[in-house]
């Protein structure tokens, strides 16, 4: 009981610190740093949603970029002004019903998530019958099909020209607001009974089935929720960059989310958050090797491509030395900072 109060207090403290930071940052950091801080939150949302699908429920999905694309397009189409839509569709006229469709950003964000969830749900029915790597390949196939449809359905998506000048609404409050909501949702979900069901489906599907769990339904549900997160993350990403096109949503995009999840630790919420900070910051910070470096009188010329070489070496090294990811499946806990009273642990073990 006491620990619960303590944890609630500490959580509030952290939340307060985050609020303080969000209030302080815009006035004191430059746009470049703010952009990276925003990206961290978006990557964390994307990572958490993939972690729900893959880490928690054990469904190897390579379709994240496809759901992100759905979300990004739905949200952007809903917030572009009529005037912008009129000038942007230079190849074929925009579909008339789409022209006047407009919603506030927050509504578009929710609709983006719902649209991606719907697509995820529709895809889930056939492909979730597959297992293992085959599931990964089938979801990858669907993501590519989504991308090809976006390229070709010019009246709705403006094809490969993409959308630009998307009115920007993503500031730190928006991205971190979404992040905190998603994080809280995930934590509650994994602590709930449904979270146990998910883990059971992942670890031993047959056993779960014997226990009377409709494993297929559970997987479909987890996949759909994960798709919702991907759609919302995609919408935020598009809005942050303010221009989107189908080329942004290739398999490489999926890889980068997958990297975050695996480096952080598959199945660990804490790990995904750490992974998104680490990978986002590392990718940007390594840029210094590509610009000329001055050391006193010496100037070492920057080498283009060197950044990704270093990045991949670091990535491989992390995976080799921490093969389960940074956190493994462990989660952050305030207990780390306080010595555990020996008695309670004993009783806990005894109960288990």
């Amino acid at each position: 009981m006491k620990t619960a109060v303590r944890n609630a207090f500490l959580n509030l403290l952290i939340l307060g610190a985050l609020l303080g930071f969000l209030w302080w940052a815009p006035a004191n950091l430059d746009n470049y740093k703010l952009r990276i801080i925003n990206l961290i939150a978006i990557n964390a949302i994307l990572g958490l949603s993939l972690n729900l699908i893959y880490g928690m429920t054990g469904m190897f999905s390579l379709g994240h970029a496809g759901f992100m694309a759905v979300g990004a397009y739905v949200s952007s189409l809903l917030i572009l002004t009529v005037e912008q839509k009129n000038t942007m569709w230079i190849l074929e006229p925009i579909a008339p019903w789409l022209l006047h469709l407009q919603t506030p950003f927050v509504v578009s964000l929710v609709l983006a998530g719902l649209a991606a969830a719907l697509v995820g749900w529709v895809i889930a029915w056939p492909v979730l019958r597959l297992g293992g790597d085959y599931l990964g390949i089938a979801t990858l196939g669907f993501a590519e099909i989504i991308r090809i449809l976006i390229v070709n359905l010019t009246p709705y998506t403006n094809g490969s020209l993409g959308l630009k000048g998307i009115p920007a609404h993503t500031d730190l409050w928006m991205t971190y607001g979404c992040f905190v909501v998603v994080l809280a949702f995930m934590v509650r979900l994994m602590k709930s009974n449904f979270g146990n069901v998910l883990r059971a489906v992942r670890d031993d599907e047959i056993a779960a089935r014997t226990m009377g769990v409709d494993t297929f339904k559970v997987r479909v549900l987890a996949f759909t929720i994960g798709s919702f997160g991907a759609g919302m993350g995609g919408a935020l990403m598009g809005n942050l960059i303010t221009t989107i096109d189908p080329k942004m949503f290739t398999i490489t995009q999926t890889y980068s989310v997958l990297m975050i999840v695996v480096v952080g630790g598959l199945g660990s919420i804490t790990g995904t958050v750490i992974g998104s900070v680490l990978i986002t910051v590392m990718l940007e910070w390594l840029r210094f090797v590509e610009s000329p470096i001055r050391m006193g009188a010496f100037v070492v010329p920057g080498v283009p491509g060197m950044r990704m070489v270093l990045f991949s070496v670091l990535l491989i090294a992390v995976i080799i030395f921490r093969r389960e990811g940074i956190m493994g499946t462990r989660e952050f806990s305030w207990d780390w900072f306080f010595p555990k009273p020996a008695k309670t642990t004993q009783t806990k073990e005894a109960r288990e």
């Binding site: 430059d30 746009n31 470049y32 740093k33 952009r35 000038t87 942007m88 230079i90 190849l91 090809i148 390229v151 070709n152 094809g159 490969s160 020209l161 993409g162 630009k164 000048g165 920007a168 960059i241 303010t242 221009t243 096109d245 189908p246 080329k247 942004m248 940007e284 910070w285 840029r287 210094f288 590509e290 610009s291 000329p292 470096i293 001055r294 050391m295 006193g296 283009p304 491509g305 950044r307 990704m308």
Partner: protein
């Protein structure tokens, strides 16, 4: 070990950020890796040449700060942000290709830093932008001029088009070509598509050959276009091939071999084989040959060079090097002599009105054969 590495990096970064206030910085969202590196690398060399010839303005040194965009849109936006925020550049020069330029342009616009696009020909690049300019003509003009040339000068009535559906440049230019060609009374007998990254165009080409056009228009980037030409000749295509400005590359003959003989493409009005060069083009050619002996001067480099010159001249006229003054002076540019002709901007249009050249590969050499005035 890791900590040592970290410490070393911190030192290196700290060492990197020591500047004086006596430099004017021009950021370059450069395209030196990825699929468009063949064009972006040349552009950067052009800018560096211009920087070497005109290294100072207002008594300050001008420094070019290139950041690679990996031929990628998101990277372009990040690179532009970084240049504006961390390097505090006074102006930007845009990346190769229209898509990445639009992404970088959004950032420049929001930050209020002028950006000069080099070879981004898509009309949407400058549209509605106060801070984005470009040094080249735009695709509606290029498509119209190409259609005109094919229909009126060459007398071809049946055309086919092979487009990369995933490339904004490709679909845009193809669209303007098709619209103008049919308006003139020509017929599009085949309209085929492929996706960036494809290497096998045999199926599309076999279909096109079957339709028997007089000319095939390929608004492709150079790397893919050269392969299309090769495969066309392999299949025994009898029609002419015509490309857009993105097919302009000094390596075309090396890459295409005999297959490119007779190939036509529209171009920014510069090529070393031009019969009459303006003074700026002469200066550029001479300086290039001195700086990069054994490497042909080319239109890509010329566009990079021009972009630099336009910003440089605006700085001189403004007498100040803050972003806002440069932007305001850029808008007042009238008849600034550049390699590809006189460049003017106005408050209504940030797209210069420029000549378009037609280049043909004759006897294994690029030759500039025709100029189309707007």
């Amino acid at each position: 070990m890791k900590r040592c590495f970290l410490a070393l990096c911190v030192v290196l970064v700290a060492a990197g950020v020591s500047f004086g206030a006596d430099t004017i910085k021009i950021g370059v969202v450069a395209t030196v890796t990825g699929q468009n590196a063949f064009g972006g690398q040349l552009e950067l060399e052009g800018m560096q040449l211009a920087n070497k010839l005109y290294p100072e303005a207002l008594g300050k040194k001008i420094e070019l700060v290139p950041v690679d965009n990996k031929s990628d849109k998101v990277e372009s936006a990040t690179a532009a942000t970084r240049l504006i925020e961390s390097d505090k550049v006074s102006a930007l020069i845009g990346p190769y290709a229209s898509g990445p330029t639009m992404a970088a342009g959004e950032v420049a616009e929001k930050a209020g830093v002028p950006m000069m696009a080099t070879a981004a020909t898509n009309p949407l690049v400058t549209e509605g932008k106060k801070y984005v300019y470009r040094a080249c003509f735009i695709d509606p003009f290029q498509g119209e001029a190409a259609a005109n040339y094919v229909f009126n000068v060459l007398g071809y009535k049946k055309a086919a088009v092979l487009t990369d559906v995933a490339s904004d440049y490709g679909v845009g230019l193809a669209n303007f070509f098709k619209a103008n060609f049919t308006k003139l009374g020509g017929e599009i007998v085949s309209d085929m598509k492929y996706q960036s990254g494809d290497t096998d165009f045999m199926a599309q080409l076999t279909e096109i050959i079957n339709q028997g056009p007089d000319v095939l228009f390929i608004p492709a980037y150079f790397a893919e276009g050269a392969v299309i030409l090769k495969q066309g000749s392999e299949l025994g295509a009898k029609f002419r091939f015509m490309g857009g400005d993105a097919m302009d590359n000094p390596d075309i003959v090396t890459l295409g071999g005999e297959a490119v003989e007779g190939f036509l493409h529209s171009a920014f009005a510069y090529d070393p084989s031009m019969p009459e060069m303006n003074a700026e083009a002469k200066a550029f050619t001479e300086a290039w040959n001195k700086e990069y002996p054994g490497k042909a001067p080319n239109a890509n480099a010329a566009m990079g060079y021009d972009a630099y010159i336009l910003i440089y001249q605006a700085i001189l006229r403004a007498g100040k090097s803050d972003p806002q003054s440069i932007r305001d002076e850029l808008e007042k540019s009238t008849n600034v002599p550049t390699v590809t002709g006189l460049t003017s901007f106005s408050a209504q249009s940030h797209d210069p009105v420029k000549d378009l050249g037609i280049v043909e590969i004759r006897n294994g050499k690029k030759s500039y054969i025709y100029t189309i005035k707007p």
